[in-house]
């Protein structure tokens, strides 16, 4: 319990610091929400009116504390670009699709990379291992926007098994949305699968060289038994850390893939809010990402203890 409280306080402090940094960074870059919204045809009065209305005339420090006071009450303010929407409304309309896509990507990653990584480790040094490592190397080096375009062209335009631009929002047609997201989720998953495979393989191969493995083998345990009963458990610890990073990354919303597939998720919202200087939205989106990272790190700590009892005792 004490542990939990400690972690929770750490989370709050992290969020506070990050929110402050984001605010400062945003006030330093050129451009403001009103100008970027009204464009070149706006009259100076229209710009001044909207600035006053949005409270942009006040000094940064006042704006920050006003924002903070609201945020502590769960009110993240109005979007400046879409002024009829609150930040919470905007984010809750974008969050579900990002979460659905993240879960799908994770399933794909887990289903493919774990067996493939183990296989690669088992046949390490043989031609199959070489092939797997070559393929993963290639996949890792493809930039994700290009991968997205490639998948769209191959499956959407040539084979026509993917409905390009057929996105439907999950609250209208959940399974339709899931169906559409298969390809984007794959695009998100592929490079990460490659990384997890490589990571897992190396980790297992390193473990296999350790003394306890030799002991187990000399006891008469079969190769597979040793691999799954003894080695995997130890090999997983570094992999868990890595996968946790992947999870955080994916839950933050894929900045590139969401643009390529025109999916209205958190990634696109963050990018467009930055470019339109919609700082209340940016602020909330950054906090969301921070919270995800901190919470996932917390979960990882807990998982370590499951995988390795020594950490629990320490």
């Amino acid at each position: 319990m004490k542990y939990l409280i400690k972690k929770f306080i750490a989370l709050i402090i992290t969020l506070l610091v990050i929110s402050m940094l984001t605010f400062i960074a945003f006030s330093l870059i050129p451009g403001d929400a009103v100008l970027s919204r009204l464009g070149i045809n706006a009259t100076p009065e229209a710009i001044a009116n909207m600035r006053a209305q949005m409270g942009l005339d006040d000094p940064v420090i006042i704006r920050y504390f006003r924002w903070l006071a609201g945020a502590l009450h769960g009110d993240f303010g109005q979007s400046m670009r879409y002024s009829t929407m609150t930040v919470s409304q905007l984010i809750s309309s974008r969050l579900p699709v990002t979460i659905i896509m993240a879960v799908m990507s994770l399933i794909i990653i887990a289903l493919i990379s774990l067996p493939l990584g183990m296989l690669s480790a088992r046949v390490s040094g043989k031609w199959l291992d070489g092939l797997i490592s070559q393929v993963t190397q290639v996949i890792m080096s493809i930039p994700s926007f290009f991968l997205g375009i490639l998948l769209t062209v191959v499956f959407g335009l040539i084979f026509k098994v993917f409905d390009v631009g057929g996105y439907v929002s999950p609250d209208k047609d959940f399974w339709g949305c899931v169906h559409f997201l298969i390809l984007p989720a794959t695009a998100v998953a592929l490079p990460r699968i490659a990384m997890v495979v490589k990571y897992l393989r190396n980790s297992v191969v390193t473990e296999m060289k350790k003394d306890y493995v030799r002991t187990a083998v000399s006891k008469g345990a079969g190769k597979r038994w040793v691999l799954y009963r003894h080695v995997l458990r130890n090999a997983l610890i570094p992999v868990i850390t890595f996968v946790a990073m992947v999870v955080a990354e994916i839950l933050a919303g894929s900045l590139v893939i969401e643009q390529v597939f025109n999916i209205p998720g958190m990634g696109r919202l963050l990018v467009s809010s930055i470019s339109t200087r919609d700082y209340p939205v940016v602020q909330a989106a950054v906090l969301y990402i921070t919270a995800i990272v901190v919470i996932i790190n917390f979960i990882v700590d807990a998982l370590y203890q499951v995988a390795d009892p020594r950490i629990r005792n320490a």
Partner: protein
């Protein structure tokens, strides 16, 4: 050894679970995938879902559904379908009565009397009253302040429900062009930002911020002769490339501002409409930057840049080349005599540069908004061309918000490539951009003769004299080489076969009511 069966069982269970999960996922996906593909082969044009038929892909999102608040090009081009003013811009480049049936201008150009159209209603079915007109004009004037074209109004009176009398502070013969200001319903005052109600041919069925806007025909629209599609969607994209892929795949039906290469790669199956973007694209130069204080240097740049080459490389050569800040798409207020003043001539450019005191050229930073491919590419071409006369260009790409605040508002720049569109057919609203004291005079142009001619032109009530004066304004901009005005870029609009139309307007609009299903 005894443990082996246990191991096998646990492995077996694992594999079975995996297989089950895989089948569950893959099976569902697989079967629906087959469905889609068979549908697609059966009806290639069946992109239309039940909610909308025609989908237009736009490479930016609109800011809101309140036309008085948001006057940026994208928002205006979309909301044109929902709202109308007392008068409305026509494809021919004039204004025609819309909410008003007809109007009279007093001889001194100070009083305008409008009679509202018989039976005209808002999209919620309520009749448009004179008080709604008064409310709308006052609302827009209040939001846009003293610099707005409507600030010239001194009084609006409504003698009866169908008559509106507008009195101006001073004579303004161009005022009618500014009455395209959208008429909104007074009773909807609290919700103009979230519940759009206009008098236009289409009403908003659904609007998702940053995603799309769905339209359906307004049954009670005053023009019963309109023959067009019933439902439409305008879908927003961060990148035109994404929209283009979706157009190719068949999930959207139309796009604009395509390059000739893109049009070619689409092949048959599309109708192509050729128009222009209604922009003055050019290399806009800060007239207070040291080298540009000399007119010879500004002229040298004009001779050094080959407009034909720029156009050919950018858009295949179909654009309308210009030498002044004017809109060839509105011939009435465009001085065509300025065309061809600056023919590509490197030697002459070098000579002028030497005359201006820069025989060895100078350094020039061109700041470009990185979200506009057209302008970024144009800057790259100009960089090569200016190198020929010794002007060493560095290109500084910035994001749109930075461009607006640093370049447009702050005027902290040496040169930039951009395109200017226009919001109103009133020529004074464009030519004010070069008046020395104007807020829009981004290039810091200052010429006493121009200021004087502009003021005269604005107040002149005789149309011929007015045209002459505005022609003189444009001539001054050409002679003084206020900037390097390049072209109104060609605009290829592509519609999937099955759809025709897409009226070309002098302003930047997507008129859904001009699109027909075959």
């Amino acid at each position: 050894m005894k443990r082996k069966p246990y191991k096998r069982i646990s492995l077996g269970v694992m594999i079975l679970t995996l297989a089950a999960v895989l089948c569950g996922c893959g099976g569902g996906a697989g079967s629906s995938t087959v469905d889609t593909s068979s549908k697609e082969t059966a009806e290639p044009a069946a992109s239309a879902s039940a909610d909308h038929e025609f989908t237009f892909g736009l490479d930016s999102a609109i800011a809101s559904v309140d036309p008085h608040v948001d006057t940026d090009a994208a928002t205006r081009s979309v909301l044109f379908n929902v709202f109308e003013g007392l008068v409305k811009v026509t494809p021919e480049g004039d204004v025609a009565p819309a909410v008003a049936q007809d109007y009279k201008m007093s001889d001194d150009a100070k009083t305008y009397t409008f009679t509202l159209r018989d039976g005209i209603t808002f999209q919620d079915g309520k009749a448009v009253k004179a008080s709604d007109v008064k409310y709308s004009l006052e609302r827009s004037a209040k939001i846009n302040g003293d610099s707005s074209a409507l600030s010239v109004i001194s009084d609006i009176s409504c003698p009866d429900d169908k008559t509106v009398v507008i009195t101006l502070k001073s004579a303004d013969s161009e005022f009618i062009y500014n009455l395209t200001t959208e008429i909104l319903e007074e009773a909807n005052d609290k919700d103009q930002g979230s519940k759009p109600i206009g008098t236009g041919p289409f009403k908003v069925a659904e609007y998702k911020e940053g995603e799309y806007i769905d339209f359906e025909r307004y049954e009670g629209y005053w023009n019963k002769d309109l023959d067009c599609i019933d439902k439409a969607q305008i879908k927003f994209y961060d990148k035109a490339d994404t929209a283009f892929t979706e157009l190719k795949a068949g999930s959207i039906d139309a796009m604009w501002q395509m390059t000739p290469d893109q049009v070619k790669s689409l092949g048959d199956g599309y109708n192509v409409v050729e128009s222009t973007m209604k922009l003055v694209q050019g290399l806009f130069i800060n007239n207070t930057y040291e080298p540009f204080k000399k007119v010879q240097v500004r002229q040298a740049l004009n001779y050094a840049i080959d407009r034909d080459a720029v156009d050919k490389l950018l858009l295949g050569g179909g654009s309308k080349k210009i030498n002044t800040y004017g809109y060839p798409s509105v011939p009435e207020w465009y001085n065509a005599d300025t065309e061809g003043t600056y023919k590509y001539d490197v030697d002459k450019a070098k000579q002028l540069l030497a005359d201006g005191g820069y025989p060895d050229g100078f350094d020039l930073e061109i700041t470009v908004p990185n979200n506009y491919n057209l302008h970024v590419q144009a800057a790259e071409i100009m960089k090569e061309e200016l190198a020929q006369i010794g002007v060493k260009v560095t290109i500084n790409p910035v994001d749109w918000s930075t461009w607006l605040s640093d370049v447009y508002q702050g005027r902290k720049f040496q040169a930039t490539v951009i395109g200017f569109d226009f919001t109103s057919l009133a020529p004074s609203t464009w030519y004010v951009h070069y008046q020395s004291k104007s807020d829009n005079n981004m290039v810091n142009f200052s010429d006493a003769d121009y200021d004087k001619t502009y003021d005269e032109a604005k107040t002149e009530t005789d149309k011929d004299k007015k045209k002459e004066l505005y022609n003189k304004c444009q001539q001054i901009l050409t002679d003084q080489a206020a900037s390097v005005f390049i072209e109104d870029p060609v605009n290829y609009i592509v519609l999937r076969k099955g759809y025709t139309g897409f009226a070309s307007y002098p302003i930047y609009v997507i008129d859904l009511s001009s699109i027909k299903a075959e």
